[in-house]
Amino acid sequence: MTLLRTKGLSRHFDGLKAVDGVDFALDPGEIRAIIGPNGAGKSTFVSLLSGRIKPSAGQVFFEDRDVTGMPAHKRVRMGIAYTFQITNIYGAMTVLENIAIAAQNRLRPHLFSRKPVSEVEIARAATKAAQEVGLGDLLYETAGTLAYGHQRLLEVAMGLALQPKLLILDEPTQGLSDSEIENFQEVVRRVAQSATVLLIEHNMDVVMALADRITVLDNGRVLAEGSPGEIVHNDAVQAAYLGAPA
């Protein structure tokens, strides 16, 4: 069974074909990297998967269910978590409160829960997610005042707290220091034991270290797909992407 599948998925912005007829499949448990030059349509593609934006054509299936018309919040409930490329956090709230909102979605999914979980439980789950990405010491800092790298990690922690089946990470290492990237790779490996990871990443060292398979997007289309070894030696990829100086 595939975890996620798309058929002819497209999104046009006026004349621009940002995503153009993509057929894509993701197996449970894998770490998949999506690479491609700036403007290739990577962010748009994963936004279509998460339901954040609507496709112009095509379909998305999650666990063999057609979720194309499903609103984003229901897809999150089904297990698709999305972290934003441009950090999108609750700037005025603390780190802990930010993650607690995500944790609450999993622990207390209904607005008027008959059996309410305690706030302590929500706080504990949020704290754990913060510690996993290395934000354990910054729980009570206001999120908006954090360094950029820490805000990126907060995004990831919010995704983790959802305990998704599929974790979509859009350029998570952007702006992180080397040691933070090191730690981040650990986090992804750990998450991958229980979830599938779809990772958009510019840093090729990270891609090579983490990805089981790589999909290359260019001009909204799939240019190539394969193991890291195959991709590195693919001529078309060399020409379109890897060959270009970073």
């Binding site: 919040h73 999108n88 956090i89 700037g91 409160e97 909102i101 999993r106 309410p116 706030e119 706080a123």
Partner: protein, 319 residues
């Protein structure tokens, strides 16, 4: 359930105790003023639920105050139901109106939301004038003598007694405060604030933000209507001025001054503003201009209101 904002709870308890004690030291006319303040701050607390905690600015909350006022007042005036029953009918009426208006108005955002709530409220106001033969219109209706007292558990509560009115208002205020504490300081309140701070992000964390906003809207309208029902029954008068635009603006004003998104802000804002309006209207007929200027000043320099400013500077738990 564990309590995680014990300091705020303690402050609420102290506030209620102090309010209770005030009736023994204040002269009668101030006790009466405080009774009005308590009821109007329930109105503002309902408003604050939506505007302060959830970040939705309504310009039509007079419609919910009036829904409670008319549902309670008319049912006792025409059907002769007892005051407790009329009060419950007032709350039910406000609940129904806010649920329906919420379903419609929440399809719009920001400025159009303000306009839509304003339009609905104006339509409601005009309806109270249109059906003057029922509502009494501008003139209003004065509730008959037998609707000025009620029996409860063998006691007769007299709505013309200052003491009875004050303690009843305080009781309702306390219940509403407790309910709002439970809502705003728990998981549900976290979602209201999440919508206020970043609605798209909240959707992407798996929440149906329309349902969250509708919940906030309905709670808000119902509480504002509770204040309306109480006001009408307690002072024995219902009239269309309560449905007017100025009443909506006053709820906004009380909340803004006291501190939007703080539990006790509406009480403080209502106290400060009603006292100020009383003083000013004694001095000059142009007091609305002074209020307007004050509103602008507060918005420019203290957009968080009194308690909101204190919260941001010193006391983070004051929310």
């Amino acid at each position: 359930m564990t309590l995680h904002n014990g300091k705020l709870l303690a402050l609420c308890v102290v506030t209620v105790i102090v309010l209770f004690g005030l009736q023994f030291v204040l002269p009668p006319y101030l006790t009466l003023a405080l009774t009005r303040i308590l009821i109007l701050s329930v109105f503002a607390m309902g408003y604050n639920m939506l505007m302060g905690y959830t970040g939705l600015l309504s310009l039509g909350h007079a419609m919910f105050f009036a829904a409670g006022l008319y549902a309670a007042g008319l049912s006792t005036y025409y059907w002769g139901v007892t005051l407790p029953v009329a009060f419950v009918l007032g709350i039910v009426g406000a609940f129904a109106v806010s649920l329906v208006i919420g379903l419609l108005a929440l399809r719009t955002q920001a400025v159009s939301f303000m306009i839509v709530t304003l339009m609905f409220a104006q339509a409601g106001y005009l309806m109270t004038l249109q059906f003057t033969n029922i509502t009494g219109g501008d003139q209003g209706l004065t509730l008959p003598t037998d609707a000025r007292s009620f029996g409860l558990f063998g006691m007769v509560v007299d709505m013309t007694s200052d003491t009875a009115r004050f303690n009843l208002a305080l009781l309702i205020f306390t219940v509403v405060l407790a309910v709002l504490f439970a809502i705003t300081q728990g998981p549900l309140g976290r979602l209201f604030v999440a919508v206020r701070e970043n609605e798209p992000r909240t959707q992407m964390l798996g929440f149906d933000t329309y349902a969250i906003k509708l919940t906030a809207f309905t709670v808000s309208g119902t509480i504002s209507g509770t204040a309306g029902a109480l006001y009408g029954l307690m002072f024995g008068y219902i009239g269309s001025s309560f449905a007017g635009f100025q009443n909506s603006i006053e709820a906004l004003l009380y909340t803004l001054i006291g501190g939007p998104g703080t539990l006790l802000g509406p009480l403080l804002g209502t106290a400060v503003m009603t006292m100020l309006i009383d003083r000013l209207s004694g001095i000059t007929t142009a007091y609305l201009i002074v209020i307007g200027v004050l509103l602008i000043v507060v918005n420019l320099w203290f957009p968080k209101g009194i308690l909101g400013t204190i919260r941001d500077r010193w006391l983070g738990w004051l929310k």
